[in-house]
Amino acid sequence: MAEETEEEAEFAGREGSPVTVQDLTRPDWRERLDEYTYSTDPWDVSVTELASGFMRELDKIGGKNLKLSGRMVLTCAVLLRAKAERLGGRDQTDEQEELEEDLNTGFWGYEEFENDSYIPELELPLKRMSERAVTTDELSQAFSSAVEVYERREERLEEEEETPHSWGMDLESESNFQVKLQRLYRKVKQKLSRGKEVLFSSLLDRDTKEEKFEKFMELLHLQSEGKVRCKQERPFSEIKVELTEDEPPAEPKTESAQKDE
């Protein structure tokens, strides 16, 4: 990773105007970020570099701007989500639209203020809200849509189960994911039989972004199940994995480890 100067702390990107960490302090930060993520492939944005730039920025201001850190977390989350969506290659479905309909308020956080500009009051005429009843045709269409969405989801689950290497994005495919978790857990235990902790990088089968993402997700699950503990001494340093105390390392013989499962 190339070192950047403080002034250059910006989203590393291929094209479009880069957005600097400083931009996140401006009121129109969301517009700039929207515009940037719209015109740039999220894979071309290095979250690591962005976060490093942010930390330098934070040092500079002595960590006093809490709004800025909130925006940074949100920015990284949005980028990660964009990457994850790209990775999964999923289309926008009705379900997602529905979810977004439910979530659309407040996703970006909300700030309302008035600077010292003069703002005259518009006076609203007294109007009533006009909402109408649903018709039976619409109820029937809604049922067809609900059935369609359900069928599409079922089909997708089946497809994902049939595709063995879908990079762990198929979280809904529970049994498939459980197999992967067990495989990784076994691997951690085998490697631990030779030391106290295992490096994250040694658990990877391939040196690709997808593989890192997949294994990291699996590790997080193992951790949340209380089977392993992940440690990172410094931000962006190697992640070390150890077994929790009540989970003894496997015997050197792999047989017993397998029996464990």
Partner: protein, 177 residues
């Protein structure tokens, strides 16, 4: 304008006119107690006025009907006119997600809550709460889950005599019904 005949509290405003104004303006159904306060009438007299309004609205020259649900009143468009004019009010009184959940319950009523959630996902819990709150559906305990069914108000709202009327002519595959 001659306002001579009106109500006890406001000689120049008749109870009927107040009820009409209130039900027209309010975005939510208005509770009976609210109408009692507004008109200053006793309950019996208010019921009479509401009956009068209901009767007036039944005239074929009127486009509205008086809807009552749990002592709350509102005007609704007569069902036979709704299809003609619905494009004028793009907003339904129910979100798309809630409507889909309601449709699954209606077409399968009575249906186990877990079956609804299976089809509609976890968001359905929230939708079910909203639908119970609005008296479209009711819920009974059935072992570890709940049995959901539509209410009389659901039938009134859609002006249906029974659920068969809804299910008739439906081209939905049998396994979802």
């Amino acid at each position: 304008m001659n306002n001579s005949e009106s109500t006890e509290i406001s000689p120049d405003r008749s109870a009927k006119s107040i009820i009409e104004a209130a039900l027209f303006l309010a975005s939510e159904p208005v509770h009976k107690s609210e109408l009692l306060d507004l008109t200053g009438l006793g309950e019996e007299k208010l019921d009479e006025e509401l009956d009068d309004i209901r009767r007036d609205l039944s005239h074929p020259d009127r486009g509205l009907r008086l809807s009552e649900n749990n002592d709350k009143y509102c005007f609704r468009i007569k069902r036979e006119l709704l299809d003609m004019v619905k494009y004028l009010a793009p907003h339904q009184d129910m979100s798309r997600g809630v409507l889909r959940t309601l449709s699954v319950i209606a077409y399968n009523s009575p249906v186990l809550q877990k079956e609804v959630v299976d089809i509609r996902g976890n968001g359905a819990y929230d939708h079910i709460d909203q639908l119970i709150e609005r008296n479209f559906i009711k819920s009974e305990k059935e072992g570890r889950t709940k049995l959901l069914s539509v209410t009389q108000y659901f039938l009134d709202y859609f002006e249906l005599n029974d659920l068969d009327e809804l299910r008739e002519g439906e081209s939905v595959p049998q396994e979802y019904l």
